[in-house]
Symmetry: C2
Amino acid sequence: MSSSVVTAGLVVIGDEILSGRTKDVNIATTAQFCTDLAIELREVRIVSDDTDAIIEAVNALRARCTYVFTTGGIGPTHDDITADAIAKAFGVDLPINEEARAMLEARWAETGTPATPARLRMARIPVGADLIVNAVSAAPGFRIGNVHVMAGVPKIMQAMLESIAPTLEGGRKVESRTVPAAVGEGAVGDPLGEIQSRYDDVKIGSYPQMGNTHVMTYLVLRSHDIERLEQATAEVQVLVDRLHAEKNIVLPKEPYV
Amino acid sequence: MSSSVVTAGLVVIGDEILSGRTKDVNIATTAQFCTDLAIELREVRIVSDDTDAIIEAVNALRARCTYVFTTGGIGPTHDDITADAIAKAFGVDLPINEEARAMLEARWAETGTPATPARLRMARIPVGADLIVNAVSAAPGFRIGNVHVMAGVPKIMQAMLESIAPTLEGGRKVESRTVPAAVGEGAVGDPLGEIQSRYDDVKIGSYPQMGNTHVMTYLVLRSHDIERLEQATAEVQVLVDRLHAEKNIVLPKEPYV
């Protein structure tokens, strides 16, 4: 376990997400993956199938984050240009990688699939990159520098994340506590801000949900420092208990997530 | 109907999305909204509740897109800093807006809600901005320049999008056609790339789905030019029919979306 903050950026590549045709699920998967590894996901960008757009996003995020993940655009068709863009971003060539070719050809041999030029596109890997092998697809992703290039198909993306997890260094574990309040954000805003002002090592978020019968506001506290987290949570709980008492609100006792 | 291309960028603001605690739905809503209005959504960025991060994303996108939309961070709590960041990005002050205050106070009067400093934060609007009034919440969003600042709560966000729709100029309508192919991307990659090379006014995308029994690849063609679109679609259909015939595949006749 490291004591430093480890950060990540995610670049989601694909016109189909931006047009609304496909609903992305890789963002939520990656967010949870990072949280589980105590990596702080700092920024996500969704860009179109455009070489310059991909290069700009990857270069911006790889300069400021410990890790960058990309999803999408590594298949065999003409609109799969992620490998080309990454090679260009790093200023390296993009030859057929013999290890990747061997993996693909072994799979193709099993199924009697011919090795067409389009399929061989998937064996093009930037010089200096390591392959990201996965259990679902024979087509590998790759890692170059701090950038991890992965598939857009969710099942394959998840298999690739699991494959790279042991190679990533996690940060200090962030713990969180949630205090549910059956009042609107306006009712807690001022006193919550006052508590936040005394705890700069605890990040307090306020997330309202409009239910069908009443509003709920979930107050989420997050910190590396468990002792300070418990102190701040106790203060927030006192505040919420007071607000509930003022309005004669008694919440059910089941656990909240 | 305009003949030019109208573009948009979306900035989603919120630590809760990046931590995986909340699954975003506003991206898909905005993508569909833009497609319906013939606006091309060019890029999406998800940033944390951090003033500099918000300013950087908004300034980058407002310089290159016809419209920018933001969601999140306009509530009454200390972590709602979007209005502050937008005012800073435009170099203007952020006073209490009397029209916004009147709207909020009218709602508060109905419910006997006191006008606390936290609640009044929601009436702070950058100088020069117009309010975005909506049917669900009394707290308005606002438009300044080409930037539309909206709520993160999905129901309110959707009401605000509906409220601004009549004020937006749409682009030339893009039509799309989908040709389903019961083969993998590798089988269509080369001939599809050849067709694409002869139609630079038609954008052809290839979207594989891993089903439980067999793979499907949806070939989606998009263009402003309906005649060229139909020509390219007919060529892709001939290609897919040939691939299906080679493998004795007969797809069911129900319509695909």
